[in-house]
């Protein structure tokens, strides 16, 4: 078992003929993900890699292939429109990889997606992987292994660093989820924590946060109230100065709020085991499993 994606996932890739879309569609196929369709307006009727049919619209793709999940690699100016199109076509889980979507576009499309009972992961995220069954996005498959640790993170490569430590030490993962570094995102820490708590295949949860905003503090409160599984946490950006945006649009300390200290304190209050360094995940997850 796992959360959000599994062997039943039937994936449509929006932007499959683009540079990033085609590269990652190939990687997902190689991993064994059921990539059932691609969408690029104007290229309907083509076939990708000799086996994946390409359609003009997501609606056409869903009708022909029963796709239930979408992943988006279209350029930022068109990405919010692509999200809305997938939601309108009845897709229930959308993963937006695209970086650089204007925030006002997201503010408009998020309620549109929710009204259609659809879950959006991202944007500006690495996607997710349920090792051994499905990879949707760009997380390298070879650094993951099937197992019982659920991981949720704001970032991409920091996730790889931590997952790599786990896998090398024989600790596999149920699902690794990157929620994205933008200020407005579709799925937050709490959504993923709830799913891991309810997932019988997950025993321990790892949460990788960063400076900026209050999502980690709220997640910590949720852990205290609702999560009965052990949680291990990390906050990146302890050395970040105030008022400067650290790459991610959301990673900015404004005023007294959003600092690493504030977040770590919230973690400790909630009984979350705090990692000082990425490598500490091995020992803390090991201790939690015992």
């Amino acid at each position: 078992m796992s959360i959000f994606v599994n062997a039943e996932t039937r994936l449509v890739v929006q932007g499959i003929t683009g540079r990033d879309g085609s590269f990652h569609a190939r990687q997902m196929l190689e991993y064994g993900t059921q990539v059932v369709a691609g969408v690029t307006p104007g290229k309907g009727g083509q076939t990708f890699e000799g086996r994946v049919p390409v359609f003009h619209t997501v609606a056409d793709a869903v009708k022909a292939t029963d796709a239930n999940t979408s992943v988006i690699y279209v350029p930022p100016a068109l990405a919010a429109g692509a999200i809305a199109e997938a939601a309108d076509a009845g897709i229930k889980f959308i993963v937006a990889i695209t970086e650089g979507i204007p925030v006002l576009d997201m503010a408009r499309v998020l309620p549109f997606v929710r009204e259609r009972s659809c879950r959006l992961l991202g944007p500006n995220c690495p996607g997710l992987i349920s090792p051994g069954s499905a990879k949707v996005g760009i997380i390298p498959g070879q650094i993951c292994a099937p197992g019982r640790v659920g991981l949720v993170s704001r970032s991409g490569t920091l996730t790889y660093e931590v997952v790599n430590h786990l896998t090398r030490n024989g600790i596999g993962q149920s699902t690794c989820v990157g929620i994205g570094g933008d200020p407005l995102i579709g799925t937050n820490f709490i959504d993923v924590l709830r799913a891991f708590q309810d997932d019988p295949a997950t025993d321990v949860i790892v949460m990788l946060g960063e400076i900026g905003g209050t999502d980690e503090q709220k997640a910590a409160e949720f852990v205290a109230d609702y999560v009965r599984k052990p949680v291990v946490g990390f906050i990146a950006g302890q050395t970040a100065p105030k008022g400067r945006r650290m790459g991610h649009a959301g990673a900015i300390i404004s005023g007294a709020s959003g600092t690493a200290e504030e977040k770590l304190e919230a973690f400790r209050r909630a009984g979350i085991a705090v990692m000082q360094r990425p490598v500490d995940v091995v020992e803390l997850v090991g201790a939690a499993k015992r």
């Binding site: 991409g156 790599n164 050395t239 100065p241 005023g255």
Partner: protein, 385 residues
């Protein structure tokens, strides 16, 4: 991207918001001429992207054109938080009866633009928010409908008991919302919004930040960027497609991914060092970016040692290795470099580096410990010499 006050005022004025007359000057002559045109007492204000202008002496009152000229001479060319003042705004000193705060920000929590209004204006609103949050009224706006008339009037009545003034403030709020949406702002603020002795409602100072993600599709907004008001190394980094922030330490860091870049800085500190910068080379790597990154980092004289920390996913570690080799051929790097590479094409990357006598590590902690020791050793040697 932050706009200067004078640029923000122009956007407000274009939208119909009442803003006092004024002018922008780059020389004391121009300051004097504007003061003469405006007549009466004026305020001369430094146009830099730094808080605390007033405390730094960058805002001066002048009673006549002669005093204005003197104020201009004093402020133009002065440094505020390391930034040289190249422009001043000259505005008439308003006859203020009351000051309020009016702000519109993109709020992460409600995922909507949120209006914040407070009768406690003219001061640091973050301080008000932290100490007396009850003095701020918040209203999330549904971006599909915008700020509705009754909502605006409700907020206006929070600020003013006088109905005409409340209605004037409501009109300004709807116009401010229009400016926010039309320009892809992440923040638009009028502080203070004042009433004059004659009862007029005016926007006295304005601050607007544009969402960086809008700039690609809005060249008109991108053109408002003032590079002279930014750290030169950060301008160079942006042009090279790098995300860079200069810090005060001596360990230069080149990392792929923002989260890992922050975690790397933290680990440098953990092992007793001080990071010299935040630098994210981004996802799809090309060797050129690595060359630019090395140029920017080596230009900082505080840097004693350089760390590469690359976890290859989309980023190919062989591209990064090629970039390091190219850079060290193009210009002499006198500083010790510690390279940590792992992930996509790492065997090839190690081979490329070994061919030129460089060595890479695969463990992040080991690499950070080494670079911190090298920086410390160099600092000790420098101190003895």
């Amino acid at each position: 991207m932050n706009l200067h006050e004078y640029q923000a005022r122009d956007l407000l004025r274009t939208a119909g918001i009442p803003v006092p007359e004024g002018g922008v000057a780059t020389s004391p002559d121009q300051v004097e001429a504007i003061a003469r045109r405006l007549g009466g007492t004026v305020v001369v204000k430094a146009q830099v992207h730094a808080g605390g202008r007033g405390k730094a002496g960058g805002v001066k009152l002048a009673r006549d054109p002669g005093e204005a000229r003197k104020a201009g001479t004093a402020i133009l060319g002065m440094q505020i938080k390391g930034l040289v003042v190249e422009k001043v705004l000259v505005v008439p000193a308003a006859d203020i009866a009351s000051e309020s705060y009016l702000g519109l920000i993109m709020d992460r929590e409600s995922q909507r633009p949120v209006f914040m209004v407070s009768a406690a204006g003219g001061v640091d609103i973050e301080e008000v928010a932290a100490k007396t949050p009850e003095k701020i009224t918040r209203l999330p706006v549904d971006p599909r409908y915008g700020l509705l008339a009754h909502q605006a009037l409700g907020l206006g009545l929070v600020l003013y008991q006088d109905f005409q003034q409340a209605r004037a403030a409501a009109a300004i709020m709807q116009q401010l919302y229009g400016v926010f949406v039309a320009n892809g702002a992440s923040l638009a603020e009028i502080n203070p919004l004042v009433t004059t002795a004659a009862g007029q409602v005016l926007a006295l100072d304005a601050k607007i930040s544009i969402d960086d993600n809008e700039l690609d599709r809005r060249p008109d907004l991108a053109a408002l960027r003032d590079e002279s008001a930014e750290e030169p190394s950060e301008v160079a980094a942006r042009k090279a497609g790098l995300s860079f922030i200069k810090l005060d330490g001596d360990v230069g860091c080149v990392v792929n991914g923002a989260g890992l870049a922050m975690a790397t800085m933290d680990l440098v500190k953990f092992y007793g060092g001080q990071p010299a910068n935040f630098l994210d080379i981004g996802g799809s790597s090309n060797p050129e970016k690595v060359v630019s990154a090395l140029r920017i980092i080596t230009a900082d004289r505080n840097v004693k040692a350089i760390l590469f920390n690359i976890f290859g996913g989309i980023t190919r570690t062989d591209d990064v290795a090629n970039g390091i080799v190219t850079a060290t051929r193009q210009f002499k790097v006198d500083l010790p470099i510690v390279i940590r590479l792992t992930g996509t094409n790492e065997a090839e990357a190690f081979r490329i580096l070994e061919a030129v006598g460089m060595r890479a590590l695969s463990d992040m902690d080991e690499a950070v410990k080494q670079v911190v020791a090298l920086a410390r050793g160099a600092a000790a040697k420098g101190g003895a010499a």
